[in-house]
Symmetry: D3
Subunit: 158 residues, 6 copies
């Protein structure tokens, strides 16, 4: 059996926490489709193309990982790709309750299951929005995101 999973998100921008999930998924499964949500509700800092490029750059060395854009329902993406499993990182109990609601809706809609992968302790406090907030005020995020993201954040916020 070839086991493929979809890892969805806004990735505005990708952080080391996201990469940790992708790397562990790539170790465990044959195929990991990173699915980038085209239109995020709040105005993104990075364009869709930038977000895709930064992810492709950061995951280039990982076998079986591909990066795509999507809009609409995630379960439709899963059906189109023939993938029956979603992977999500989990940082805290508060994450879990919202994510559980989404997971049960996705299972209800299309029988697609969600696997939760706990975040490594080292990145447990990371989120794209917190990284952007820190960067905006000149805080150093070099060890929280891939180098290309850090560089672009510096450019974009000065």
């Amino acid at each position: 059996m070839t086991v493929a999973v979809v890892y969805p998100g806004s990735f505005d921008p990708v952080t080391n926490g996201h990469l940790d999930v992708i790397e562990r998924a790539a170790e465990g499964f044959d195929r990991v489709v990173v699915a980038v949500l085209r239109n995020v509700s709040k105005r993104p800092l990075f364009t869709l193309d930038e977000r895709l490029d930064l992810l492709r750059d950061a995951t280039a060395a990982l076998p079986g990982v591909e990066v795509i854009a999507f809009e609409g329902l995630l379960v439709d993406v899963c059906r189109d790709l023939g993938v029956g499993l979603i992977v999500k990182g989990l940082r805290a109990a508060a994450d879990f309750e919202y994510e559980l609601q989404m997971a049960q809706m996705n299972r209800h809609l299309a029988g697609v299951d969600t696997l939760f992968l706990p975040t490594s302790p080292a990145w447990s406090y990371l989120s794209s929005s917190l990284v952007k907030e820190v960067a905006r005020f000149g805080g150093d995020v070099a060890d929280l995101v891939p180098p290309a993201v850090a560089a672009l954040l510096r450019e974009r916020t000065t």
Copy 2:
């Protein structure tokens, strides 16, 4: 890649909630090893052999599922089997915090990752201990556990 997972527990006794996790794991992965903890801290209602038999009976029709006993560290079981992934069902945020602690310890000890699969809403309130408590006082648990478990519970508690 053959993806194998270990699903550990006491299974004293197996419930429909456990079976739901096993069925969904069997759909998604090539091999599901259900690992039954030999010595549970509280005195079990069912012997190890009974717990193994009830599980084997309930999972007989599922391809790729095997049932074994274990004692000691779960990560040692994983290493012996050559399996790099643990699967756990998750019912509630309170479960998650304890399970997260175990998952991070197992990753620290042996690089073994844990995938959390949310429990189906229908079984979200089920646990082996609650089933035993209800059965002990004559409550009807026939639709909460496999038929053979229900029969044995009736015998054992009257």
Copy 3:
């Protein structure tokens, strides 16, 4: 003693989860006043009149249930109606903390108590906003909301 309760919300739109709470409240109490918040903070998908009509339609067969609109403080509605109890559905621990804060404020302001009724497992992942998001992208919500709501959602989102 006649026991009356108020069940407040935005109901944009009413879901099967809301109806489950209303039905169980109607079983337990003499009078259930469903109170629909006139102005919700985010732009509603349905007008106040549509929200009231959909609720009245869905609860027509339930004895002792009435549907009203309100604005301002919920405790003022309670005082005007002579009702001393609020009912809320609870899905998860995360709900509980916010709702507890509101409940204690309402008790502080006017001595009005809040009774929390846990959501049926079958609807534990439902919310109006998730239903709208699914419907907007063409997902099938027919078994999550009353028929009239499903029809209007289809109209409104295509």
Copy 4:
């Protein structure tokens, strides 16, 4: 409609937090049956008769409140009494998850609903076991329990 509720517990011993729930239930409903679990899993500090007496003493002035002992399933008590609603106090989110599990089991077994009443902030940190622990080491619990309980705790722990 006469609305009756059952309020179950070990009450080893009754605290001001329990009394607060009983008082508020007595205000809202016609009949409040306080049901005292005969055999609690850990060895109780007070006998069943002491627990019943202390509760009857503390609730003597409240109309519609009666105190009974029970063993077995709470839903059987409800059926025998013809009462369709359980009331529980809720202090914190962690309480909620366990109580939710019990509530959904009770609804599954016998269609009996559970209403959760949030604890008054003033008593949010109170529990029978914490009160006993404080009293055992000579801490002053006079303002946390009814006077008769405080007196008996002093006797019993010196």
Copy 5:
């Protein structure tokens, strides 16, 4: 050793819950710097100067307390002031998870630790936004905020 702490927030407006934290911090530490965030994400009801004045007025009698405005990263404020500790009030588990994320980021950025002080039960349900919502609809908040805040809220909301 002189122990100084920073207590950050929007304080739009200061509530009795905030004052409780400040008073307890002033009892325990030599110096408490209340740091008021200049630009809050949502449009504040009170200007920065009003928020500063109301805080200074309410804390005038407390030794070692000073009130300043800040923008940018809190850890930069700490470094400029030579203060190595942040104090935050904690009301509930849900607060904790978000605050933990901030605390670990601040420790990562600048080695600044955060001390969490649990809110007094009496104010556990208070927040600036809930106070403003209640006041906007004519609810009485006189016993939830300092007198000067209550007066200004009445003015501003009628």
Copy 6:
């Protein structure tokens, strides 16, 4: 003002997570009294003297840290020492709810406040009991506890 804090626990045995809290408390405060509970409810693996020695050994280089044994109420220890602040490490939201209850009881009994210091992400999954469980089955805990503890655990569990 000299700021002293008490850091209570069973320390059966001390872990790197405990040491992290002690080190950070020693950085922030003048005096840190580590208070070791004499009689823990479950049979401890290490005697009181062993627990004290391991802690003294591990904290020998930290200025202002002393290690004592206690029994009875922690607030009595605080009063005897003239210390008005307790420090606790916090790992997760589930910890918080129990600890909050204790903190509010201690404040009620003696006006003693509790400061919560979030655990470093690296040690967020550590507890004495989990370390003992891993060691008992031959798992390697050398990088989770001080060297002397690791040595003694190896001895004691083989």
